[in-house]
C-alpha cells in the first residue's frame, strides 16, 4: 500500500469562531468565520450549523479562495432548523463547519478569455461572488434574479457593465423581469459556459431556454439551492 493514503475518509468537522456578521437585508446576512486550515476551490460549499445542534445546512462559500477567512451568505428560512439559529449567533461565538466539498467549479483547462454567463436567483449569487473575487473568470456576465433591488447583496463587487440585476417585483434593477425573460431576449452564444445557481424552477427553465438557443449541455453547469 502506497504512503500517504488516507486511513479513513470520515467527514471532518470543526468548530470555527465567528469573526463578523453583516446584515444585508432583514433576512439575509453574511457570516464571516475563521478559516483555520480549510482550503477550498471557488464554487464549493460547506455544511454549517450552530455549535449546540445536530443539524447543518449546505452553504456555497461567498468569500475568495485567498481570503484569510470564510464567508457564507445566509437567508433566514422561516421555521427553518438552522438559519434562524445562525442569525441569533454573535461575533465571538462558534459554528460547526464541515470541510468544503463540491464540483461546481471553473474548469482550469479553459482559456483565461473564456466567456462565462453566471445566472443566479437570490442567494444563489454566492458562488459567483467567490468566482469573481478569486479571479476565476474575467470575461463574465452575471444575471442576478431577485424580487427587489435591495436583494442585490454587495453587487459593488462586480464590474458594473458585467452585472445585470433582474428585479421581478419592482422596476429598480437593470432589467424589470425574471432572469429567464432577460435570457430569452439576450443571447450569449453557444460558445459561452453557463453556470446556474438557484432554485429548481429557475434552473429547469434556463436549461430549456439555452437548449432552444443551441447551447450544448456540456456548457451548462448547475447547482441547485433548496
Amino acid at each position: 500500500m502506497g504512503k500517504g493514503v488516507p486511513a479513513a475518509n470520515k467527514i471532518k468537522t470543526d468548530l470555527h469562531e465567528i469573526l463578523d456578521i453583516r446584515h444585508l437585508t432583514d433576512s439575509t446576512f453574511v457570516l464571516r468565520i475563521e478559516k483555520k486550515d480549510l482550503e477550498f476551490e471557488a464554487g464549493q460549499h460547506v455544511c454549517v450549523g450552530p455549535p449546540n445542534g445536530i443539524h447543518t445546512r449546505e452553504y456555497s462559500i461567498y468569500s475568495a479562495e485567498q481570503d484569510e477567512y470564510i464567508e457564507i451568505l445566509v437567508k433566514e428560512v422561516e421555521n427553518g432548523l438552522v438559519s434562524p439559529s445562525l442569525k441569533k449567533l454573535q461575533k465571538g461565538g462558534y459554528v460547526v463547519v464541515e470541510e468544503p466539498v463540491g464540483y461546481f467549479t471553473i474548469n482550469k483547462d479553459l482559456p483565461q478569455t473564456q466567456k462565462y454567463v453566471f445566472i443566479a436567483s437570490g442567494t444563489g449569487v454566492s458562488p459567483f461572488h467567490s468566482f469573481v473575487l478569486s479571479g476565476k473568470a474575467e470575461n463574465y456576465t452575471l444575471l442576478h434574479g431577485v424580487k427587489y433591488a435591495s436583494e442585490a447583496y454587495e453587487s459593488e463587487a462586480y464590474d458594473k457593465d458585467k452585472y445585470v440585476l433582474c428585479t421581478s417585483q419592482e422596476d429598480k434593477g437593470t432589467f424589470n423581469g425574471r432572469v429567464t425573460d432577460y435570457l430569452k431576449a439576450n443571447h450569449f452564444g453557444a460558445d459561452a459556459h453557463y453556470y446556474l445557481c438557484g432554485n429548481c424552477n429557475m434552473i429547469h427553465d434556463v436549461y430549456d431556454i439555452l437548449e432552444e438557443q443551441g447551447v450544448s449541455t456540456d456548457n451548462i453547469h448547475a447547482e441547485v439551492y433548496f
Partner: protein, 428 residues
Amino acid sequence: MKKRIGFKTLGCRLNQFETDALASKFVGLGYEVVENSKDTDVFIVNTCTVTNQSDQKSRYVVNNALNHGHTGMLVITGCMANNHKEQLEKRYPNAYVVDNQQKSTIPQLVEAHYNKEILPSNQNVGGVFDYAPAAETFHTRSMIKIQDGCDNYCTFCIIPKVRGRAVSRPVEDILENIRQVVGFGYKEVVITGVNISRYNYNGIGFSALLKQIVDIKLDFRVRISSIEPDSFDEEFFELLKHPKITPHLHLCLQSASESVLLQMRRMYTYKLYKRIVERLREIDPRFNITTDIIVGFPGETEADFQKSLDAVEELSFGHVHTFKYSKREDTRAARMSNVVPEQDKTLRSEELRQAANDSKINYRQQFIGEQLHVLVDTVKDGYSKGYGEYYVPVKINQSLERNRLYTVKITGIEAQGEEHNLIGVVQN
C-alpha cells in the same frame, strides 16, 4: 481443526470486493470460509443501509443466524454499522460492530478475539484501501477497489454520510492489485468504488487510470461496474473501444424526468444521459446498459413517472434495478414535502418492473445465433453458467471448467422464474 468462518454480504459491489478480500485473507490464515452462518465459529455480516429495506435485510440476516443457534463470534460491519452503530451495539451486545473505516482490520480483530486479547473494534487503525489482493473469493471476477466515498450529495442518498468523502487509491497500488489477481488466475477484473467516475489521484482521472489498466501486458478483461453519467470525457468513450474493456456499463439514471433529477441534485440531465447511451450504442449497437431507477421520489408526478417508464423502452436497458424511494434521515430529500403515498410507489414500482422485464427479454433475444465469450462461474448438476462480455447470464448444458472462458454459440433463451438465461453450446 480449522476454524470455520461465514460471510453474508448485502448491497453493492464494493461490499463484495471487501468481503472477497477479507475471505481471502482468512483462507490465508488457515480458516475454512463459507457463505452462511451454519456451524461457523465466526459469522461476519457485511451490511448495507442504502434503503430501509436494506436495513431490514441486514437485521434479518443477523437475527436469522442467532435464531438458528449461532453462538460463535459475530461481526457486523458495512454501511449500516456506520449509520446505526449505537443501535446495533445496544441490540446485539455480544457482537463486534465494525465501521467501514476499520473493516479491513477484521482479521486482526478475529485473531485477537481467539487469542483472548479482546479488543474493542474501534481501537484498530485500518484504512479504506487496506485490503490485500484476494486470491480465494466467492467470485470468478476479481473486484478491484479504486475509490471510496462520494462528494455528490444527491438529496436522497445516505452514502456520503456512511462512506465519507471521496478518496482515491494510488494508481500504482491499483495496477499492482490487478497484476497480482491476474497472476492468481482471474480472467476478469471489475473496477469498483462508490463513485468511480470521480476517481482522481494526484491529477490522474478515471480515463487516465483506465488507460493504464488496459495497458497492463497481461491477458484479462475489464468490467466497469456502477458509474455515474456526470463526468464522461472523450478519452473514456475511446477507451470503451479497447478489446479488453467489456461492452457493459451500469449507468445510474434514477429518473428520466428533468425536474425530478434536479430535485435529486443529480449532476446531469436526461438529455445528456440519452446522448451518452446513443454514443455507447454507436461504439457497439448491442452495448449493454443497465441502470437504477427510483420511483416515488418526493414530488414525482404521474407525468414524471411516465417519463421513466418511457425511458426503459426508449433506451433498451439490459436490466433495471427498480427502487421505491426510501426516506433516509439526515438527507435533504427527507425534508421534502409532496411525499408520494406508499401504495402509489408500489404500483409504479410494479409497472416499471414489468416494463424492465420486457426490455430485458428484448435485449437478450438479439444474441440468439451469435457467439459470446463466457466466463464460467458455476458448475453443478450437469450444467454450467457464466457471463458473456455483455454481462448477460448464459447457461450451457454440460459440465465445464470454472473460471475458464469459452466461446459459446447462443441457441435460445430460457425463463427461470424472473430470470431469463441465454442458452448456448460451446464452440471450442
